[in-house]
Amino acid sequence: MEGGFIAMPTDVILWILGGLILISAVMSLALRNLIHCALFLMVCFLGLAGLYLHLNAVFSGLVQALVYVGAVGIILIFAILLTEGGGTETGSHLGSQWRTGIGLAVLLAFALLGAVSNSPQTTQAARHTEEPTVREIGLKLMTDYLLPLQTIGLLLTAAAIGAVVLAMQEPKPRKDETP
Amino acid sequence: MNASSIPWLTLLTAIPLVGGILILGSHLPDGQRPRRFGLLFHALSLGVLALIFTQFDPAVGSMQMVERWPWIPSLGTEYHLGIDGLGLLMLALSCIVLMAATAFSRRDIPSGRIYHGLLLLLQAGLHGAFTAQNFIHWFFYYELSLIPAYFLVKLWGGPKRGVAARTFFLYTMAGSAAMLLGFLATYAATGSFDFAELAQRGKGFDGGLAAIYNVRLGLPELSTRALGLLIFFAIFLGFAVKIPVWPFQSWLPLTYSEAPAPVAMVLTGALSKLGVYGLLRIVLPIFPEQVWQTQDLLLCLALASIVFSAVAALAQTDVRRMLGHLSISHLGYCVLAVVCASRITPLDGNWEVEKQAALTGAMLQMFNHGVIAALLFGLAGWMEERVGKPLEMGSMGGLRQKAPVFAGIMGLAVFASMGLPGLSGFVGEFLIFKGVFALVPWAACLATLGLLGVALFLLNYLRTTWHGALSGDSTRFADLTVRERAWVTPMVALILLLGVHPQLALKWLNAAAVLLTERIAI
C-alpha cells in the first residue's frame, strides 16, 4: 500500500488512493460519533501521504504522515475527549441550515471543476525526475527558504505556548465566571 | 551659518515661553506665588540678555549671533534668528518693560497664574519677533504676542473691556492680515521670506521688488509701480495699525484706558515698538523706493498722528486715554524720522549724516519712550489702585501734599516725556528733529506743534491732579511704599542716566543705523 514501486499500473493505484481519500473524507464528516470521524480523518491523511509518495514527493509524504497522523490526530482526539464529544451526538448533528451549506459546496465544486477542466496547463505531461534527496532539500531550505523556515519555527513555538496557555486549567474558577 | 555655538537667541525666546507654559500648566494659587514666578523668569531672560550684551560687538552693523536652520525648505521658511544693535535694544526694552509690568501688577490679581503666564507668552512673542529675520518667523511671534495681549485686556480690563479688546483685536488682526497678504505676494515674486534677501532684491532703482512682482505674478495690466505700491501699502498697513499711525489709531485710547495698567504698560512700552521696529527692519530696507514715492502722504500721516493726537489729548478727561494719545504722538516722531530717512537726496553734502541722525534718533526715541511710557502707565496704574476707580482729570487735586515722592516721580516721568534735556526723552527727539529738519524742514516745524501740545496737556494734568488745593477723594491717597520705590528707582535711574549719557544706548545703535542708511541709499 505504501510504496509505489510495485509495478502495478499507476492509474489503478491512483484511483484507489483517490477513492480512499474521498470516501474517508466524506465519512469523517458524515459520521455521528466524533472519534470515528477523527479516525477516518487519519485514514484520509494516510491516503494523502500515500498519494504524495506516489508523486515521488517522499519527504513531504513522510512529513504529512508524521505531522498529521502523529500529532494532529492525537490532539484532535484529546480535544474530542476533553469536550465530552466521546459519547454519541445527542440530537441532530447537522447545523440548522445544513442544506444551503452543502448546496453551496456543491455549487462551488461544479464551478471549480469547470475551471479545472478547461484550464490550459493540464495537458502538460508529468516530469520524470528522481525525487530530490533530503540533503538537497535541507540545503535549499537553509539558503533560499531560510526566512520562511525561521518564521515557521517562531509560529510553531508561539502556537504551542499559546495553545498551552489557552487550554491550561485556571488555578480556581473565578466566582463571576458563569458556566 | 551659526556663528555662536550657544543658541543665545533661541534660549532668550525659549525661557519666557517655557515659563509661560509652566505657569499656565501649573495650578499655583493666586496671590504672591505666580507674580514671583513671573518675576523669576523675567529676571532669567534679563540675565541671558546681559550675557548677550557682553557678547555683542557694537562696532559691527550687520546681524550677529545668527542662527539659521532650515525649517520648512519647501516654503522657503528658515529658522533664521539674528540681531543687530536695534534688535538688541528692543530686546532690552521688552525685558525691562515686562519686568516692570510684572512688578507693577497688583498682588491680589484674580487667577494670577494665567495673568502672569500670558505676560510671559507675550514676552516670548516679543523676543521672537525682535530676533526674527524671516517673515514666517516674524509673523508667528507677532501673532503670538498679540493673542495674550487680547486676553489680558479681555479678562482683567476695566468696565468696557469687552469692546476694547474686540476693537484692539480686530484692528491689529486686519493689519496683520494685510501684512501677511503683502508678504505672500513678495514670496510669490521672489520665492523667499528672508528679510536680508528681500532687502537685497528690493534695492535698485528699476521699481525694485515691483518689477519682479509683475514678471512672476503675471499681472500685465497692473503697472509695476501700482503693484509695488499696492503691496507696500498692504505691509505698511500692518505696521501702521500697530504703531499706530494717525488714521488707524482709534483703537488705542479705548484699549489703553480699559486694559489693566501693567498690560497698558506692555502695550505702549513694547508692543507699539514692534510696529516701528517693523518699519525699520522690514519696510525701509525692502521697500525704499515705494516709501520714497509715497513720501508726502506718509509725512502727512506722521505729522497728523503727532499733532492731532497731541491736541486731542487736551480734550481728554480720562488720564489713561490722555497717556494713550501721548504715546501716539511720540511714536509719530519715530515714524516721521523713518519716512524722512528714506528721502532720495542728492549725492553731495552730508545727507548721510542727517539720515543717520534721524534713524538713530528714531531708534533711541523708541527705547526711551518705551521706558518712560511704561513708567507713566505704571504710576497711573498705582494711582488707580489707590483710588479704586478709573482716573478722571478733575476727580482729584493737590495729591502732592499727600504723596510728595509719588508726585516727584510722576513729575519726572511727565517732564521726561515732554523731552526735557537732562532726561532720556530729549536726546532722541533732538536727533529726530535734527535729521528731519535737514531733510524736510517744513515737517520739522509742524512737528514742533506736537511738542507744544504735549507740554500743554501734561502740565494741565500736573496742575489739576497734583498741584492746587486738596480735593476729591485724594484724602485716602498714600505715598509710594518702600517696595514701590524699589521698583521705580531702576526706571528713573535709566531715564536720568540715558538723559545725561545717551552714549550708553547709542553705542549699540550707531553701527546698525549706518548700515541701514547705506542699504536704503538708492
Binding site: 510495485i6 501521504a49 513522510l62 502523529g70 482526539i77 475527549l81 534527496t133 | -
Partner: protein, 402 residues
C-alpha cells in the same frame, strides 16, 4: 528448480555480506513479477526472524527477571524452560476471545492490528547488515519516526474502544507518555543526523565503519555527545515502548492491565508482540545511530564476522540491558515521568545538539573533548540538581488505622 537454486545463492550472498544479495534469485523470476518477488524477498526474513526473537526474549526476560529476583524463572517446558514461548503461544491461540458488549466492535478489533503494522513497517528501514537493509530510503530515519508515531493512535483506539474507565485512563497515560518521549527520541537522533548529514540509516551506519588504520571504530557513542545522546535515546526508547521504569500504562498494581485490559486471546498476544517489536525496532535504531550498526567495535575485528552478526549481537546485549533495567528500577510516578521528559530530557537533548554542533566545528581533538564534556556535564548537573524538585524526605510518620 531454478528459483530454489537462485534462492539459496541469494541467502548465501546475504549472509556473507556480498553486495546486491537478491540479484541471483530475481533473475530466475519472470519480468513482471520481479518487483513483487523482491518485495516478498525482503519482507519474509523480517517476518520470520523478529517474531522468533520475540518469543525468545519473553522467555529470556522471565528467566532473567527470575535470576535477578533470586528465583529460577520458567524451567518446566522444554530444556530449562526455553520452550515456554510455544506454550504461551498456544495458550493465547486457544483462549476464548472475549469482547466487552459495550465496546466499539470495529475499533476494538482494529486496534491491535493498527498497533502491530506500524511497528513492522519500521523494520523496513533498519540496515541489519552491510547491504541487508530491506529498503534504503533517502529519508529512512524520517520514515521510521513517521511510522512509529502511528502507534500512539493505535494505543488510544485500544484504550477507548474497550469502553472501560481504567483502559481509557491507561490509554491516555500511555499516549501522553509516548508523545512526551517522542520529542527527546527524535532530537537525540537528530544530533547524529546533524553530524553525518544524511537521514538514510545505511549511510549513517556506513559512516561509523572503522578505517583500517585506526584502533577504535569511530562509533558515535565514543564521543561525549554521542554517549549522552545514546543514553537519552535509550531512556526515551524505553519510555516509548512502555517498558520497566516507565511501564505506568499497564502498571498492574494501580490500573490492572492498562489499555489492553479488555483484550484476550490472540489480540492480547498481538499487543505483546507489538510492544516487543517496538522495543527491538528502537534498539535497532539505537544500534545503527550510536553503536555503529553492523560495524565491528575495533578496526581489526571488521573482517572477522559478517556484518549482521555484529548487529544481532549488539541487539542481544541491548535486550539484556532492558531486561536488567526492568528487574532493578522501581516504577516512576506519573508527574515525575512527565517532569523528567519535559524538564530534563528535552533540554538535555537540545544541549547534545549544541554539543554535537560544537564538536563538529571545533578543530583540535583535545579542545573538542574538553569543551563538549564540560558543557554536557555542567548541563547534566544543573538540570539534574536545580530543576528537579528536591525531594524532601520528611520524617516517616506512622498512622494507625482508627
Amino acid at each position: 528448480m531454478e528459483p530454489l537454486k537462485g534462492l539459496l545463492s541469494t541467502l548465501w550472498k546475504a549472509l556473507t555480506d556480498q553486495p546486491d544479495p537478491k540479484a541471483p534469485f530475481l533473475e530466475s523470476i519472470p519480468e513482471d513479477y520481479r518487483s513483487l518477488a523482491s518485495a516478498v524477498l525482503s519482507v519474509a526474513p523480517i517476518l520470520m526472524v523478529f517474531p522468533l526473537l520475540f518469543a525468545l526474549t519473553t522467555v529470556l526476560e522471565r528467566k532473567g527477571l527470575g535470576r535477578i529476583q533470586n528465583r529460577l524463572g520458567p524451567n518446566r517446558v522444554g530444556p530449562a524452560g526455553f520452550l515456554q514461548f510455544a506454550a504461551d503461544g498456544l495458550k493465547t491461540l486457544t483462549k476464548e476471545d472475549v469482547v466487552p458488549r459495550a465496546a466499539d466492535r470495529v475499533v476494538h478489533f482494529l486496534a491491535p492490528i493498527a498497533l502491530v503494522i506500524p511497528v513492522l513497517l519500521t523494520f523496513a528501514v533498519l540496515p541489519f547488515g552491510r547491504n541487508l537493509a530491506p529498503i534504503d530510503l533517502d529519508a529512512g530515519l524520517l520514515f521510521f519516526f513517521a511510522v512509529s508515531s502511528a502507534t500512539e493512535l493505535a494505543v488510544f483506539m485500544a484504550g477507548w474502544a474497550s469502553r472501560n474507565k481504567y483502559s481509557l485512563l491507561g490509554a491516555l497515560r500511555a499516549v501522553a507518555q509516548m508523545v512526551s518521549y517522542e520529542i527527546p527520541l527524535v532530537l537525540a537522533a537528530l544530533s547524529v543526523v546533524m553530524i553525518t548529514g544524511t537521514l538514510s540509516l545505511s549511510a549513517i551506519a556506513a559512516a561509523q565503519s572503522p578505517t583500517p588504520g585506526s584502533f577504535l571504530a569511530p562509533w558515535y557513542v565514543f564521543t561525549p555527545w554521542g554517549l549522552m545522546g545514546f543514553l537519552l535515546f535509550m531512556i526515551a526508547a524505553c519510555a516509548e515502548a512502555n517498558r520497566s521504569p516507565f511501564d505506568l500504562p499497564e502498571g498492574e498494581s494501580e490500573i490492572i492491565a492498562g489499555y489492553y485490559l479488555e483484550y484476550s486471546g490472540f489480540k492480547f498476544a498481538l499487543f505483546f508482540l507489538g510492544e516487543y517489536l517496538g522495543l527491538f525496532a528502537s534498539s535497532g535504531l539505537a544500534i545503527t545511530l550510536f553503536l555503529g550498526g553492523w560495524n565491528a567495535p575495533f578496526a581489526f575485528m571488521q573482517g572477522w564476522l559478517p556484518s549482521w552478526v555484529w548487529f544481532f549481537a549488539k541487539l542481544a546485549t541491548l535486550i539484556a540491558v532492558f531486561i536488567w533495567i526492568r528487574g532493578t528500577l522501581p516504577r516512576v510516578r506519573m508527574d515525575q515521568l512527565m517532569g523528567l521528559a519535559w524538564k530534563f530530557m528535552i533540554p538535555m537533548t537540545l544541549l547534545t545538539l549544541v554539543a554535537a554542533g560544537l564538536w563538529h566545528r571545533l578543530p583540535s581533538a583535545p579542545l573538542r573533548w574538553v569543551a563538549c564534556t564540560a558543557l554536557l556535564a555542567g548541563a547534566f548537573l544543573v538540570l539534574g540538581r536545580v530543576l528537579m524538585p528536591r525531594t524532601r524526605h520528611g520524617r516517616r510518620v506512622y498512622r494507625y488505622a482508627d
